[in-house]
């Protein structure tokens, strides 16, 4: 609960506190006109706890970042948190009461037996062997250097300080006094409110020499402050900067020189320009921008600037990419081998399997799409399918002369940059493959001319449109209706259109018109036996 009798003095502006399980930042301590006693003005993380924006009865006491996120509380409900070393001892310290078989009242009428608690506790309380420390949600607010505990956790490489009350990078840097070999640090949900400047950042930087992985999700750190982070963590390999409502902008050219993996999920990125600026990072091999609302992707064509020179993995799930042009642009990345595009509108443009084939064909060097490897056979099938799909347009573009549509080929190649390459690999698509077969019924009807007797006798010729699958039985019924010739007495034969060949006998009632190769404009001759 409260940290002592002098709570009024010990709470400082910008301090992070916990109040009834909600986190807040102290913005004001002192009297409030219109209410007795001393008050603490808080800016809550959770907007629904706020009542106003720092004013009470017309007087302004403090200002808040987001409207209506402030309120006044009494100091005794404010929990200023605990020391790092106390949290470590509380969580992992030796627990004398631990036993190796403990029965806890159960569920469903059965007891729950917890085995080995004492054994584990003994191992974990041996701080010299601990490899990972997790202090999630333990209200750690300060990390004070205590000579008694120097290098308390020499083998610990992972520290999770997520959801705690730390607010300053200087404080965080003291962690290395206890954990000299820390390599993975997580500060998710910690609001670093204390500002930083270059000299402080340089001072801290030697502490974090060994940190290679840093997680700063939901910290609301400003993108503009990232260069300071880069100075403090000079050897950083992986940075997770998700869900920070970050407005991306440029970074100084020497920032994050060692960075290989960058996660920016759930930050609002409404234009790819903002991401392009990250293309200067020399070592970046993996970039994740899932759920950012990115509408499209493009890369400039310039030869001097190498954008994303080493990028081999790009993850763009759950964005708003809707045009195949973005896919074409991804082909420009020289080293891209793995791409994730699930839940983008561009994959719903066509049937699922066709959408995948289209993406595979358009990006030549890709090896893994949506976490599934593209085997050589799949690549071949996709590229051949792609060449057939756009084959008609290709031939049209080739066929047009320079005068009428000089730009048709240019436009075609702009939208299909790999087409030439694919045609070189497999040859042009066959004309026969390009013919579109119509599925409409009216296109598969045959026009037949029916005549009784013989053609020359000038008798009535009736023309009928029939499906090519009509059985001869049905044809005889129709002829009976039209010409009143008894179907049992009909003898049918036909003459091909435009020829004077001898009529071909139609002798099987159970076969269809197409069996006899009866085609458009043929004449069917009816004689009666």
């Amino acid at each position: 609960m409260s940290t002592g009798t002098n709570t009024k003095c010990s709470l400082m502006d910008g301090q992070r506190v916990c109040c009834n399980n909600e986190y807040a930042t102290v913005r004001y301590t002192g009297p409030v006109v219109g209410a007795s006693g001393m008050w603490v003005g808080l800016e809550w993380d959770n907007l629904s706890r706020g009542r106003h924006s720092g004013s009470y009865k017309g007087r302004e006491y403090f200002s808040v970042g987001r409207p209506n996120s402030g309120s006044f509380v009494r100091s005794h409900v404010v929990d200023a948190g605990i020391e790092f070393i106390d949290a470590v001892k509380e969580k992992y310290g030796l627990d004398e009461s631990a036993v190796n078989e403990e029965v806890i009242e159960g569920i469903g009428g059965r007891d729950i037996i917890v085995i080995g608690a004492k054994f584990i506790n003994k191992k974990q309380s041996n701080f010299s062997e601990s490899f990972s420390i997790n202090l999630y949600n333990m209200k750690v607010s300060s990390i004070t250097v205590n000579p008694l505990y120097e290098h308390l956790l020499p083998k610990a490489s992972l520290l999770d300080l997520s959801n705690n009350l730390i607010n300053s990078w200087l404080v965080v840097s003291n962690v290395t006094f206890f954990m000299p070999n820390i390599s993975t640090l997580s500060l998710n949900n910690c609001r670093m409110t204390a500002p930083l400047n270059d000299s402080e950042a340089s001072m801290i930087s030697s502490c974090f020499d060994k940190v290679s992985t840093l997680s700063l999700n939901k910290t609301l750190i400003n993108w503009h402050d990232l260069p300071f982070v880069s100075i403090m963590f000079a050897n950083l390999r992986e940075l997770s900067f998700c869900d920070n409502s970050a407005q991306l902008s440029g970074l100084p050219s020497d920032s994050f020189a060692q960075l290989q993996m960058l996660l920016l999920d759930f930050n609002p990125i409404d234009s790819w320009d903002l991401v392009l600026q990250l293309g200067r990072l020399p070592g970046l091999t993996e970039l994740y921008c899932n759920g950012c609302g990115i509408p499209s992707v493009y890369f400039p064509d310039s030869k001097e600037d190498q954008f994303f020179p080493k990028l081999s993995l790009l993850s763009l799930k759950q964005n708003k990419i809707s045009s195949l042009e973005s896919i074409n642009q991804l082909n420009k990345l020289p080293r891209l081998v793995e791409l994730s595009l699930t839940a983008n509108p561009v994959l719903s443009l066509d049937k699922e399997e066709y959408a995948r084939m289209e993406v595979v064909a358009r990006i030549g060097g890709m090896v893994t799409l949506n976490k599934t490897t593209i085997l050589a056979r799949e690549r071949m099938e996709s590229e051949v399918w792609y060449s057939i799909k756009y084959g008609t347009q290709w031939f049209e573009a080739k066929a047009t002369s320079d005068v009428t549509e000089p730009d048709l080929m240019g436009r075609f190649l702009a939208f299909h940059p790999r087409y030439r390459e694919i045609v070189k690999k497999y040859g042009e698509p066959e004309i026969g493959q390009l013919k579109k077969t119509s599925n409409k019924l009216k296109d598969s009807l045959l026009l037949v001319n029916i005549v009784v007797g013989s053609i020359e006798s000038g008798t009535r010729v009736v023309s009928k449109k029939l499906p090519s699958g009509t059985t001869i039985m049905k044809l005889k019924i129709i002829i009976e209706k039209v010409f009143r010739v008894d179907k049992k007495k009909q003898l049918l034969s036909y003459v091909s259109a435009g020829t004077s060949n001898k009529p071909v006998l139609i002798d099987n009632d159970y076969r269809s018109l197409s069996f006899f190769a009866i085609d458009n404009n043929d004449t069917i001759i009816v004689t009666s036996s």
Binding site: I115, I120, S132, T342, N370, K371
Partner: protein
């Protein structure tokens, strides 16, 4: 905790068993710091891994495993693969003619020529053990070798090593990743034989794994390699107490005591949490509450069945990694709030919860991310009957028309 070495011999049968075996030993070597040539880096503190590895005079660690298949292609890949120096050539047994997805061929015709060679090797391995606990077999239900040959092997092991525990990890056939129409036949025939002979079976369903890969790991079209990497995390979790010093389920007999109330009801359902891709892992917190919830959800089960429609007979939860006993209390309180955990009245076993200090490892290039803590839950639930009912249904459909029966009759059944 450590006593006389209690060795476990693994036998990998058929294509399925071999491919799982590959992934399995790859992961075990990473967990224990053993290189591809069998040499170990660093100091030995915990000798518990000697249950699964034998030490040779040259300081090499050789897995206590046998790979057997009735045709050579799959095991040839082991012989020429990355881990070929890890295994002794005598551990890799192949025949010439395979079982053609036919239980009868695997059991009678082709199997009987291979079984004696295999049993020879098993005996040799067993003699080199100080105190053999038992055997773990990896195979599929649907394949010919995996079904027929496994039944034959279990039969003979029962005769020779009757007192030793025999555990197996069968892969239940699934329509999505299926290779043969006669899988229901093979599965039912195998289950009939192994029901009497095996002490415990950790079934894994290809459909469930397939869906987990698609949903949790964002893999568009999972292949066997994706499925196997997931399955071996379960295997690792189940055997973690056998290979590291821990308190819960430290030997095979304890599994039986905790999970198997009656000899024929020995099919626990395995669930694992968290199963996350690398990017999801970076922004999920993975607290004890979250992973406990996830393990109870149907989305993380290795067999597709609805546990809400069944009752529990026994439950074992093994947490791994950075968790303290106090966290377990939080998790337990959460579990209490779940009113849908109902136990049967006729069974005395209950809930056992343990922690293993060693965190999980993942194979580099795997879709699953390495997490600081994880949970493997083994529950013996009556809902498993649903999986059997599905299989029986398919069997009945085919058998009522005597479809494909001639293949089995032709081999002497």
């Amino acid at each position: 905790m450590s006593s006389a070495a209690r060795e476990v011999i693994s036998v990998h049968i058929g294509q399925c068993g071999t491919q799982i075996g590959n992934a399995c030993w790859e992961l075990f070597c990473l967990e224990h710091g053993i290189n591809a040539d069998g040499k170990m880096e660093g100091k030995l503190e915990d000798k518990s891994f000697e249950t699964f590895y034998a030490e040779t005079s040259s300081g090499q660690y050789v897995p206590r495993a046998l790979f057997v298949d009735l045709e050579p292609t799959v095991i040839d890949e082991v012989r020429t693969g990355k881990y070929n120096k890890l295994f002794h050539p005598e551990q890799l047994l192949t025949g010439k003619e395979d079982a053609a997805n036919n239980y009868a061929r695997g059991f009678y015709t082709v199997g009987k020529e291979m079984i004696d060679k295999l049993l020879d090797k098993v005996r040799k391995n067993a003699e080199s053990c100080d105190g053999l606990q038992g055997f773990m077999m990896f195979h599929s239900y649907g394949g010919g070798t995996g079904s027929g040959f496994t039944s034959l092997l279990l039969d003979r092991l029962q005769q020779e090593f009757g007192k030793k525990s025999k555990f197996h990890l069968p892969v239940y056939p699934s329509p999505e990743v299926s290779t043969a129409v006669v899988e229901p036949y093979n599965s039912v025939l195998t289950t009939h034989c192994t029901m009497e002979n095996a002490e415990c079976a950790f079934m894994v369903d290809n459909t469930a794994c397939y869906e987990i890969c698609q949903r949790n790991l964002d893999v568009e079209r999972p292949t066997y390699s994706n499925l196997n990497r997931l399955i071996v995390q379960i295997v690792s979790a189940i055997t973690s107490s056998l290979r590291f010093d821990g308190c819960l389920n430290v030997d095979l007999a304890e599994f039986q005591t905790n999970l198997v109330p009656y000899p024929r009801i020995h099919y626990p359902l395995a669930s694992y949490a968290p199963i996350l891709s690398v990017d999801k892992m970076h922004h999920e917190q993975m607290t004890v509450e979250q992973i406990t919830n996830a393990a109870f959800s149907a989305n993380n089960q290795m067999i597709k069945c609805n546990t809400r429609e069944g009752k529990y007979m026994a439950c074992c939860m093994l947490y791994r990694g950075d968790i303290i006993p106090k966290d377990i209390n939080t998790a337990i309180n959460q579990m209490k709030a779940k009113s849908d955990i109902v136990f049967v009245d006729w069974c005395p076993t209950g809930f056992k919860v343990g922690i293993n200090y060693h965190p999980t490892t993942v194979v580099p290039g795997s879709d699953m991310a390495k997490t600081p803590r994880s949970l493997c839950m083994l529950t013996n639930t009556t809902a498993m009957g649903q999986a059997w009912a599905r299989l029986n249904g398919k069997f009945d459909l085919m058998y009522s028309k005597r479809a494909f029966v001639h293949w089995y009759v032709g081999e002497g059944m």
